[in-house]
């Protein structure tokens, strides 16, 4: 009897979410579009930059430097600049990210065996890109110096680097497992929060409360759609990511699914706590947004958790995304063993237990 009632409730909830064609489409199509678009946008490399050259010297060293610069795969165009004023304007108007300047001394210094300085002005508004461009220019400086001496640029042997888990340091190998975490989380959280808020706004939630359904049946019914939609999206990505993006999935699927379920339960719990507080869909959406943005920014996707100040790292511990991001990256790229998956799963269990209990208590106090 209880089973039948619960099933009916779950069926009703699924219908409520999926009945509207547009809502159905918004749950599947935008997440896929995001995956495609953002996977190609999120790159921390700097490519196709335009660089200005202001050359007041003329000799072998400066022309070697310029020709290596022009040949760099990261540089799109070299723009000739003929006065300090033009250099200032090119930077100010963001025509170039950097101007390389050779003064009259440059080739003379090099010819007499001194270290020659190349002055480089960079656009500090784009400080991150500017730093990466400096690194490219350093490399060009070293190799053009070496080319002119026909020798190797460094003292002794260089260290040999081996990148485990991602040999070519493909940024997309990092982005894809992270996007899975963010996008699945976003759809699960918004479905949870909206479905309760919608009924409250329309007044049908009170009708549910006075029906013969137990509170636990109502809550389980409310949890079913986000869980199923989250799992559906996760499965979709699990297929699309290795197939179309060549990112390997080396871990065990048997570890992946339980971890996804725990992650979704933790998020649903958080969503339930929010929806117990709000009265309208608008408040629900805003509440979700206020949670989702900090969660994503503090998950380690935008920048490593290690770089954050200590107190923020502590706050990040209660963020389900932070824990599942480690599991997702680990299972895709590192074939993470059970021990490590467990070590990152128990915080999810804890978050789910605390939030779901809190939500149940809040709803119960509403009834009374």
């Amino acid at each position: 009897m209880i089973g039948v009632r619960l099933l009916a409730m779950i069926r009703k909830e699924l219908l409520a979410v999926l009945r509207d064609t547009r809502a159905r489409i918004t749950l599947i199509v935008p997440p896929l579009l995001q995956l495609i678009l953002f996977s190609s946008a999120a790159t921390l490399e700097v490519k196709n930059v335009d660089i200005g050259v202001y050359n007041r010297s003329s000799g072998a060293a400066s022309s070697e430097f310029i020709s290596q610069l022009a040949g760099s795969p990261n540089v799109r165009r070299i723009i000739k600049i003929d006065s300090p004023d033009a250099a200032r304007q090119a930077i100010d108007n963001q025509k170039v990210i950097a101007v390389v300047m050779f003064d009259g001394q440059f080739d003379r210094d090099f010819a007499v065996g001194q270290t020659s300085d190349v002055d480089v002005i960079l656009d500090g508004r784009r400080s991150n890109a500017a730093q990466i461009v400096t690194r490219y220019l350093d490399r060009i400086a070293a190799s053009s110096g070496a080319a002119l001496h026909m020798s190797s640029p460094d003292h002794g042997e260089q260290s040999i680097t081996v990148n485990w888990f991602n040999p070519n340091l493909d940024y997309i190998w990092f982005v894809m497992p992270s996007l899975l975490v963010t996008i699945c989380g976003m759809s699960a959280l918004s479905v949870t929060v909206q479905s309760v808020a919608r009924e409250r706004e329309l007044g049908t939630f009170d009708q549910l409360m006075v029906s013969p359904l137990g509170l636990h049946e109502i809550l389980i019914g409310k949890m079913a759609p986000p869980l199923l939609i989250g799992l559906l999206n996760a499965t979709l990505y699990l297929i699309v990511i290795p197939l179309f993006y060549g990112v390997p999935f080396l871990g065990s699927i048997l570890l992946f699914y339980p971890a996804v379920v725990l992650y979704l339960l933790a998020l649903i719990g958080v969503g339930m706590v929010v929806s117990a507080k709000v009265k309208t869909q608008q408040q629900a959406f805003l509440g979700m947004f206020m949670l989702m943005v900090p969660m994503t920014l503090l998950s380690g996707f935008a920048s490593p958790v290690d770089n954050m100040p200590g107190w923020l790292q502590t706050i990040a511990e209660i963020n389900p995304q932070k824990h599942f991001l480690i599991i997702s990256e680990g299972l895709f790229l590192k074939a993470m063993p059970l021990v490590d998956v467990l070590a990152n799963s128990w915080p999810l269990v804890l978050i789910a237990a605390v939030t779901l209990t809190a939500a149940t208590l809040q709803f119960r106090s509403h009834v009374e």
Binding site: A41, T43, D123, G124, R125, A142, G145, P304, L333
Partner: protein, 374 residues
């Protein structure tokens, strides 16, 4: 019937303004959320790497190897957490406890005496940025150590070299805050302009109060203006607060003029508000409106506007997509007005582009709003 009536216009405007002020969620999004976002971008998102945890596998026990281990331990870039064999340290790398392993191979001391001395660096490629940081700085530690040993022995180094002397204009300390905080302000403007507007007006459609208004003699343009103006004012208020925080809490310079800032942000609010109106008129459903506003407003503002990721580095077709994102034209002037100063050659084309998008969205929204009840 559709003529403009100043009194009616004022009455409607007052009604809309009251509606906003009385709704606590508006205050939340216009004033609390900006604070949260600014603090997250100011403190939480940090692209300037601090000390990285590594392990060292020392397979050689010569004096040279011990001295190199010492160099890594005293480096300000690394935090040596563990020593041991590669298989053992490999497990720490998998679990994420360390981000790299330095392997000092057998016979390292002998090789150093002969003038060589390579080490192996194993990185955690699952976080590519940290990985290239580890390999770059590990090589730096090693090279400095070699140079210091040579200097001790009085060996000069040979040929002349070319050396770059970089100067970073506008931001000599290279603080990533200088572009993250203006970026956060752009996101806040998108939130208020597009998200909040779309949501609030979709609610009126859902509840049927919109039809009540359409039944009155108010004209369409008048009606749209009364909907948009309060949010415009709200967004500008939020912008002032954000700018004050940027300057007084995060220490950003403000080298441009307030007038330029006002013009730039106002120009951006046109497409943002127009988009919000369009979404609400086209969907008439809060849930769908919220999802579409997130997808077409917030996420592109974050990912495709050029504030987190360089547009020039994206594939060609994504670069073309960015031209259709109004936030793309907001980021360069906004960053400039804070850290560089007024530069009208940069401002005017961007302002013009944003206004064009604004007109476009308003026309679409105008056409999407039904003039009579079906």
């Amino acid at each position: 019937m559709n003529g403009f009536d100043t009194r009616r216009f004022h009455a409607m405007l007052t009604k809309e303004a009251r509606q906003i002020i009385r709704d606590p969620s508006t205050i939340l999004i216009a004033f609390v959320l900006p604070l949260v976002l600014l603090f997250l971008f100011g403190y939480g998102v940090n692209l300037d790497t601090s000390r990285t945890r590594i392990g060292i596998a020392q397979r050689d026990h010569s004096e040279a190897a011990a001295s190199l281990v010492g160099a890594f331990q005293s480096s300000r870039w690394f935090d040596v957490r563990a020593t041991g064999d590669v298989p053992v340290l490999g497990r720490d790398l998998t679990s994420g406890h360390i981000r790299g392993i330095i392997v000092i191979p057998d016979g390292f001391g002998r090789d150093v005496a002969k003038g060589g001395g390579a080490i192996q660096v194993i990185t955690d490629g699952s976080t590519p940025n940290t990985a290239s940081f580890v390999s770059g700085y590990a090589e730096g530690v090693r090279a400095n150590w070699v140079a210091a040993r040579k200097a001790e022995r009085g060996q000069a180094h040979g040929a002349p070299t070319i050396q770059t002397v970089p100067r970073y204009w506008f931001n000599p300390q290279l603080a990533s805050r200088y572009f993250l905080v203006p970026g956060a302000i752009a996101i806040v403007m998108t939130m208020i302009g597009t998200l909040l507007t779309a949501l609030v007006i979709a609610r009126e459609w859902e509840r049927g109060t919109m039809e009540a208004i359409l039944a009155t003699p108010i004209g369409m343009i008048e009606f749209m203006a009364t909907k948009v103006i309060p949010y415009f004012v709200l967004a500008l208020g939020s912008m002032v607060i954000c700018s004050l925080i940027a300057v007084f809490v995060f220490g950003l310079p403000f080298r441009g003029s307030p007038l330029a800032l006002l013009l730039i942000v106002s120009a951006f609010l046109m497409p943002a508000l127009g988009q919000g109106l369009l979404i609400s008129a086209a969907t008439k459903n809060q849930f769908v409106a919220s999802q579409i506003a997130l997808l077409t407003g917030f996420l592109p503002g974050l990912m495709l506007s050029g504030f987190l990721y360089e547009i020039s580095s994206m594939p060609k077709w994504v670069q073309w997509v960015t031209y259709a994102i109004p936030a793309r034209y907001l980021i360069p002037p906004l960053e400039t007005v804070f850290v560089a100063g007024d530069n009208w050659t940069l401002f005017l084309p961007n302002i013009a582009a944003m206004l064009c998008f604004g007109v476009f969205f308003f026309i679409l929204a105008f056409r999407a709003n039904p003039r009579r009840i079906a």
